[in-house]
């Protein structure tokens, strides 16, 4: 019987140089793996692989040297520990994320919850080419949001609250964009310079800021054979449902307009950045 490599690849089995050996990609969301999952991955790597795993560049785990004949046994063994195969090929890939506001002091959004949600909504969806989501919690950008077809960066929109301010001056120095000045006991925010990093709020001894946590979204990032930085064409998104509407619109634009094997960036360029912007703005305004 001929081996159907395309469906194996779809199911996360990556053909190796070594005949009949596959590197099995696992489904990981937001870079988090439980101890129970790690234990079963270790067992499977020892029993069916060669005793090692590979951590991929996008937060997945692969078990190399899995034999073609063992595939169903391996899948069953992994399922017992709550581990599923991942995907490769033309579809929505692993949703990556930094640790976000649940763990990291710098985080502005709960990246893991958002990664789970995007994974539930889109994972493995068939598209003309691969499509990558990446979520980073703040402007430090540990997760490199703009490398992804759709990148999400957490941010905080701030408004100074005079009543609680002790005029210590810390926020003015914490701001790296020179957006804040202290004049006659008042803090003045130049909104054109603010990048929503939230450092003023996070460093403020009395948290004398009204805050709205939200998202900065970029489109069309690539970091492979071609390199391109994802572009932010929307204002700061302060509403979760609006974010989802924008993600839906990006996916549907790609699905409807891309040629087979054409990455999102090239679809945007070919169809026209203006047309894409109009489409996304429409979703943004009507959500």
């Amino acid at each position: 019987m001929a081996v159907d490599y395309a469906s194996l690849k779809k199911g996360g089995f990556m053909r190796q140089k070594q005949k009949n050996n596959f590197s099995l990609r696992l489904r990981v969301v937001g870079g988090n793996v439980t101890a129970e999952q790690l234990a079963v991955i270790a067992d499977v790597a020892k029993k069916y692989g060669d005793g090692h795993v590979h951590l991929t560049s996008r937060q997945s785990v692969e078990i190399p040297f899995v034999k073609l004949d063992d595939i169903s046994e391996v899948k069953a063994a992994l399922a017992e520990g709550g581990v599923e195969p991942g995907v490769c090929g033309p579809r929505v890939r692993t949703v990556t994320a930094c640790q976000g506001s649940e763990i990291c002091p710098s985080g502005c959004i709960d990246t893991y919850s958002l990664a789970k949600e995007l994974d539930d909504r889109y994972f493995a969806r068939e598209l003309p080419h691969k499509f990558k989501f990446g979520i980073t919690g703040c402007q430090n950008n540990c997760l490199k949001a703009e490398e992804n077809d759709l990148g999400i960066k957490g941010g905080i929109r701030v408004a100074w609250r005079e009543a609680d301010c002790i005029n210590c001056g810390v926020c003015v120095k914490a701001c790296r964009n020179g957006a804040l000045t202290q004049e006659d006991g008042k803090i003045v925010l130049d909104e054109s310079k603010c990048n929503f990093c939230g450092r003023c709020f996070k460093s403020c001894p009395t948290e004398a800021w009204d805050t709205v946590h939200g998202y900065i979204v970029s489109f069309g990032g690539l970091f492979g054979n071609s390199i391109s930085t994802g572009e932010t064409i929307l204002p700061f998104i302060d509403d979760h449902d609006k974010l989802m509407a924008v993600c839906d619109a990006a996916i549907s634009f790609f699905n409807d307009n891309a040629n087979p094997s054409e990455r999102f960036r090239f679809t945007i360029d070919r169809v026209g950045a203006d047309k894409f912007r109009e489409y996304i703005l429409d979703a943004y305004n009507n959500a």
């Binding site: 002790i166 210590c168 001056g169 810390v170 120095k173 450092r199 460093s203 001894p205």
Partner: protein, 81 residues
Amino acid sequence: MGDIKIDDKVDITDVVCPTTFVKAKIALEELDDGQILRIRMNDGEPVQNVPRSIKEEGHKILKLTENADGTYDLLVQKVGD
């Protein structure tokens, strides 16, 4: 705010991140609850980051002032023993 009584001083201008915060933290450990420490630090990363780290440790920041030589003084009230 000019009448704040300073109980102790530490100069962290001679070290770099992350030792800046460590040196300040050790100095705070020497104080009693409610006492005030003056931390002298450099412009740039120290003044951008150290106040926030001190806040995250639960201490109370009172004032940040710039000195004539370009360094900054952060006044911190210790919270907890």
